[in-house]
Amino acid sequence: MSRPDRREHEQIRALNCVLGQLTRTDGSAQFSSGSTSLICGIYGPIEAKLYEEKIDRAHIDVKLRPAIGLPATKDKWAESAVRKTFERNILGHLHPRTLVQINLQVKENDGSVDAAAINATALALVDAGIPLRAMVAAASCAVRKDGEIVVDPVEEEIKKAMSTHTFAFSSNSPDDNPVYVDSRGSFTMDQYDRCFDLCAMTVQRILAFMRTAIEGKVAKESQISAV
């Protein structure tokens, strides 16, 4: 059975990203995977409000707005996915008593938004110059009713899927040690393992894509300063 957009099972949608698009934020990035697209704007490190100030590290605040309507439970879930992934990856102890505010706006939602949100945030954090332990990227996959596993599912596939899985990996931790895991639906252990391997492989591709994007931006800036 073929996929709605005629992709191979292990094929992701076309990736696209723009760094530093927003001029008034401290850092920003737009990340698109096919028609799923998000824009992330970051302020930080800025002054934290008294009640959220942490004496030994930076407070990380994530806000996500859906493409249509007000934030619902699934958007809060995506916020927590981003927060859990980056709370340990940002070197918050370097900027104690400050706030790093991550604002995400979904531009278009066609499945795998949680993974795209993590990817957009990773790029925006780099653009903002927030110190990071490593690069992080995420990928999703879905187990269909016929048992086939498809990567980077679109909304139609997620609706019909038996289970969906999102994994995030960091660039310098081994592949068997994800930084974020979210699995929902009913699945067997074998299916989980196959999803894990497929996402780990996909994340390597996304990380390579991110590296190219960041290197392009840095090279553009450094060429001028070298004069």
Partner: protein, 233 residues
């Protein structure tokens, strides 16, 4: 300079370097590098630089949010006055403290009186992550102002920290191109704030636009851009 080495967060940096057959003993890590576990990793994306003897490494990256560092000149705005000093907004996470006595010739009886909203040019004297930054408008060794102090009439605007760093060097092409054509005063803060003053508001707008435009231009393009702006002026 040799070829450019770009690093992104998480990249391990090989700092092993032998000079005259002897291994370096002391290694200094500058901005953008951190000792995590048993490797030295980049924590910011940027261009890796090292000193010629291999004892110092740092990453040059561009940002828009200032993090105070000791000794750097900054342009700030007075936001409040306390008994012991002024609170100055320098664009970092926390406002900086400018003691009343940190001015040239200031004594307990004779202190400068700055109104809220005044722009000042100062040097960061205390900067660490645990304390609010402190700034001073004089050199505490000589007691002289050395160009620091209140910035009077003029116009302040923001730019990226990378551009501010480039403007700060005496070779900044855009400032040289502008300076050869018209007179103006400029104070560059490494916190991404630039203060300028000219005789006429029109010229101030021109200078501010020229500096903002120069973000992604090289020396030749800068001169061309300045000439184009002057032709329209």
């Amino acid at each position: 300079m040799t070829d450019i080495k770009v690093v992104i967060p998480g990249d391990a940096v090989d700092t092993h370097m032998e000079v005259d057959g002897q291994e370096q003993q002391v290694l200094r890590l500058g901005p953008g590098l951190s000792h995590i576990g048993d490797t030295i990793n980049a924590v910011n994306a940027g261009v890796l630089h090292s000193s010629s003897d291999g004892s110092q490494y740092w990453v040059v990256s561009n940002k828009r949010r200032y993090v105070a560092a000791e000794g750097e000149p900054v342009v700030g705005v007075v936001v409040a006055r306390h008994a012991e000093g002024y609170r100055v907004d320098i664009g970092s996470a926390h406002d900086a403290l400018l003691p009343l006595l940190a001015f040239e010739g200031a004594t307990k009886r004779n202190k400068p009186n700055l109104a809220v909203g005044t722009t000042v040019y100062a040097r960061v004297s205390v900067a660490n992550s645990l304390m609010d930054p402190e700034i001073e408008c004089f050199n505490s060794n000589t007691g002289k102002a050395e160009g620091f102090g209140e910035l009077g009439e003029g116009f302040m605007f923001k730019c990226s920290l990378g551009l501010a760093r480039r403007l700060f060097s005496s070779k900044a092409p855009v400032l040289n191109a502008l300076g050869s054509k018209l007179p103006f005063e400029v104070a560059v803060g490494l916190n991404g704030r630039v203060w300028i003053n000219t005789e006429k508001p029109e010229t101030t707008v021109l200078v501010a636009n020229a500096i903002k435009n120069s973000e992604f231009l090289d020396a030749k393009q800068c001169r061309q851009m300045v000439n184009e702006l002057l032709d329209k002026h």
